[in-house]
């Protein structure tokens, strides 16, 4: 069974976000970029399934400009067997991403597609569900445990009220939540070996997908800052302020 892992290049999770002063977008020039953290988790799960002998091949795929090659090489160093770079703009809408991925699914026929649950830049949380819809596959979003059982996969999902366990027929779509696993770090020999692993490039045309824009970002602004607070020096001063100044305690 093949596992396909879509990977997005995003701003590093620990870098401060700067909005352009003309409100045209977020300033990414010279910013540290990385693999979206949820994609790291998705990839780790796929690699572990291969190490357990459940999967035969792990294929990483990323859609974007030339720079996504960096994250695909990281994916290869972390255990993906080969990778596909679909050349397109960096900020395609989710539906276009899902259409491109569907076309890759048709070519590769993976048993599982494991995606991140959300990209930490757009915070969309959409592509996995859209891909499942377009392929007519079942989906388990927000996965915190994945277990293969013959022709089924059992997934524990983190839902608002606690946890839910589902069983999906294959092929299926899974999106990874934070607690699914702890991704490994790439080791130097693996980084060297990754350089020899194949990276195919494809275009939306070659995949037979016509991209269509539905949304226009009119402006991006910084949220209004909170007004500066004060320091209190004791528990009793805190309670007094909450009662008499903020009036949030009886």
């Amino acid at each position: 069974m093949k596992i396909l892992v879509p990977i997005k290049r995003t701003l590093d999770a620990y870098i401060k976000v700067r909005v352009h002063i003309d409100n045209s977008g977020v300033d990414l020039s010279n910013a540290k970029m990385a693999m979206n953290p949820f994609c790291e988790i998705a990839l780790e799960e796929a690699v572990r399934l291969k190490e357990k002998g459940v999967a035969s091949e792990v294929i990483a795929v990323s859609i974007g400009g030339d720079k996504v090659g960096d994250q695909l090489r990281t994916a290869l160093a972390l255990g993906a067997d080969r990778s596909i770079h679909i050349k397109a703009d960096d900020d395609l809408e989710s539906l276009n991403i899902a259409k491109l991925l569907k076309s890759v699914v048709e070519r590769e026929a993976p048993g599982l597609v494991i995606l991140g649950k959300q990209a930490i830049d757009s915070d969309n949380n959409q592509v996995g569900q859209m891909l499942a819809a377009l392929c007519g596959y079942p989906q388990a979003t927000f996965a915190s445990r994945v277990e293969m059982k013959d022709n089924l996969v059992e997934v524990t999902r983190e839902v608002d009220s606690g946890e839910q366990v589902l069983e999906l027929t294959l092929p299926a779509i899974i999106t990874a939540d934070l607690r699914l696993n702890e991704p490994r770090y790439a080791k130097l020999p693996d980084i060297m070996k990754a350089k020899k692993k194949p990276v195919d490039t494809l275009t939306p045309d070659e995949l037979g997908v016509t991209l269509r824009s539905h949304l226009t970002i009119e402006s991006v602004s910084e949220p209004a800052p909170r007004k500066p607070g004060i320091r209190v020096h004791s528990a009793s001063e805190l309670v007094e302020k909450l009662r008499n100044e903020a009036k949030v305690l009886p």
Binding site: L95, A133, A246
Partner: protein, 309 residues
Amino acid sequence: MKALVIAEHDNKTLNPATRSLVTAALQLADTVDVLVMGADCNPVAQSAAKTNGVAKVLLADNPACKHQLAEALTPAVLQVATGYSAILAASSTTGKNLLPRVAALLDVAQLSEVVRIEDKDTFTRPIYAGNALARVRSADPVKVITIRASSFEEAAVDGNAVIEPIAVSAVQQMSRFVSENLNNSARPQLEAAKTVVSGGRGLGSAENFALVENLADRLGAAIGASRAAVDAGYVGNELQVGQTGKIVAPDLYIAVGISGAIQHLAGMKESRIIVAINKDPEAPIFQVADYGLVGDLFEILPELEKLLA
């Protein structure tokens, strides 16, 4: 213009987030219908019908809809979607699971976590963990959006809408519910609570987390946690506040032993009053706190408990 609101519920009670969705929907359309999909969920439809501003409640009562699985609900939504110019759900795990699936089959985009409706085509939503706000215009004939309930007032409960049962063919064999492990705490629900006390790694252990629970009980508050506290097993995942947990905006949020990483702030910085208790005077949580108290939580929490007795 007509809008369809997808009710959030557990087959027994209507989640109040649904009433916030109705408020949002009324900014987009003059007729708002609510779709209740579930099993043996008539009380939910009754409650939805009382929401002010609702024209009609569509009730799809079908055993296949019991666990709100997206594969079962999507055909039901598509069956009734014709004629609506907007379809809204809460940005809950159920709404986020379902709506992109619906949008893809309608061949339209989906807008996530909308916090403001500018006009019928233009929406504001946070990106980058709330560090930026994007104003987005949609060219789609049908807007499919999840709404951040805490950003919209709940509609009043003095309506009297008609309930129209609908038959849906929701049978599906692709996914099957196996089991669930739900939090049955008697405390207020995290998303709806007026006061939230959250604990972080600073608590040090699941046993010590009782300090947070005791303070919460004194205040009639809900309990929240940082990711580090959940990862360490102090509390369940359903209590995580942040970019990838729950988004809360209570009147009072008390962060105890939480450093204030941007991913945590994303989930609570819209709270009206924020209190931070942390022994590190440099902790970033103090930058958003209205009242900061530097000190050892193991001394401060018992004191607070006494003061509030």
